[in-house]
Symmetry: C2
Subunit: 146 residues, 2 copies
C-alpha cells in the first residue's frame, strides 16, 4: 500500500468515528495501516519519529485505545507482554493472528477467519473470538532451516 493510499484510507476511517480527526490520530492510523505486522507503542513511536512527528508516549497510548474503541484498529496480546496494534482498510473483519517464536513478529492472517464449530457450555455468552497461532514465520523458516 502506498503512503498516499494509507493516508486516504486513514482519513476515511477517521471520518467514520465520533471525535476529531487530528494529525496524531491520522498519522498513527496510517502507520497501523501501512505496517506489515502488528506494532506496539514503542515501535509506533519510532515510526512516527521517522516521519517527523513527535507525540508524547501517553498520547500514543490514548490514541491507540481510542482507535480500538472506535473500531478502526484492533489490539492483540503479544508474547513479550506488550499490546500490539494493527489496522486494515476493510474495517475489523475478524481474523486470526500468527506470532513467530523466533523474531516475535505478529502477522494478521486476514484470510483465516475464526469460527466456532462446537458450542459453548451452558451460560457462556460469546462476544468475540481470538485465534492466535504460534510457530515460525516464512523468514525465520529460511533462516533456521536445518
Amino acid at each position: 500500500m502506498s503512503p498516499e493510499d494509507t493516508n486516504t484510507i486513514a482519513e476515511n476511517l477517521l471520518g467514520q468515528t465520533t471525535g476529531r480527526s487530528t494529525p496524531i490520530r491520522l498519522a498513527v492510523l496510517g502507520i497501523l495501516l501501512a505496517a506489515k505486522t502488528a506494532l506496539n507503542q514503542q515501535e509506533i513511536e519510532q515510526q512516527a519519529t521517522r516521519q517527523g512527528l513527535t507525540a508524547d508516549r501517553v498520547t500514543l497510548y490514548r490514541t491507540l485505545d481510542w482507535l480500538v474503541e472506535q473500531g478502526v484498529a484492533h489490539r492483540i496480546a503479544s508474547n513479550d507482554r506488550t499490546w500490539r496494534y494493527k489496522a486494515q482498510a476493510n474495517l475489523a473483519t475478524p481474523h486470526a493472528h500468527f506470532q513467530c517464536k523466533h523474531c516475535g513478529q505478529l502477522f494478521c492472517l486476514e484470510h483465516l477467519q475464526p469460527a466456532l464449530l462446537v458450542s459453548l457450555p451452558q451460560g457462556y455468552q460469546l462476544d468475540a473470538i481470538e485465534l492466535k497461532l504460534q510457530g515460525t514465520c516464512p523468514n525465520c523458516t529460511l533462516k533456521y532451516a536445518t
Copy 2:
C-alpha cells in the same frame, strides 16, 4: 478435585519433569490443578499464603516459568496485562479459554479443542493454536441479566 487428589496428581506430574520436586513447586502445581480458573502470580501467592506456605515473588515467577517449560502448566495472556496460569491432570491437552469481560475470570474450556480447518499461507510453520473467547461468564450472565 479433593486436595489429596491434586497433591497426588501434582507429584505424578512433577515426576515426569527433569528437575527437582520441591515443596514450592508441589504447592504451586497443586494450586494450579485445584483452581477453577487460571490464576496470576498475585493470586497464586495469596493462595499459597492461605495454605501456610510463604514463597518469594521472584521464586513464584521462576516456578511458574519452569512449570510451563516442563509442560505441566500453561500460560494465557489475560486482559489485565498479567499472565495467568493453569494446570490439569491430563497433561496439556490443547483447549480453548474463555475470559469474562465483567469479572475478568479466565476459564479453561477443556472440551473445546481448537483445530485448524483451513491451511496456513505458504512458509508458516505451526507449533500451537491459541483460541481465546471473550464474553460473559455464567455467573455474570445471571448478575447482569436484563
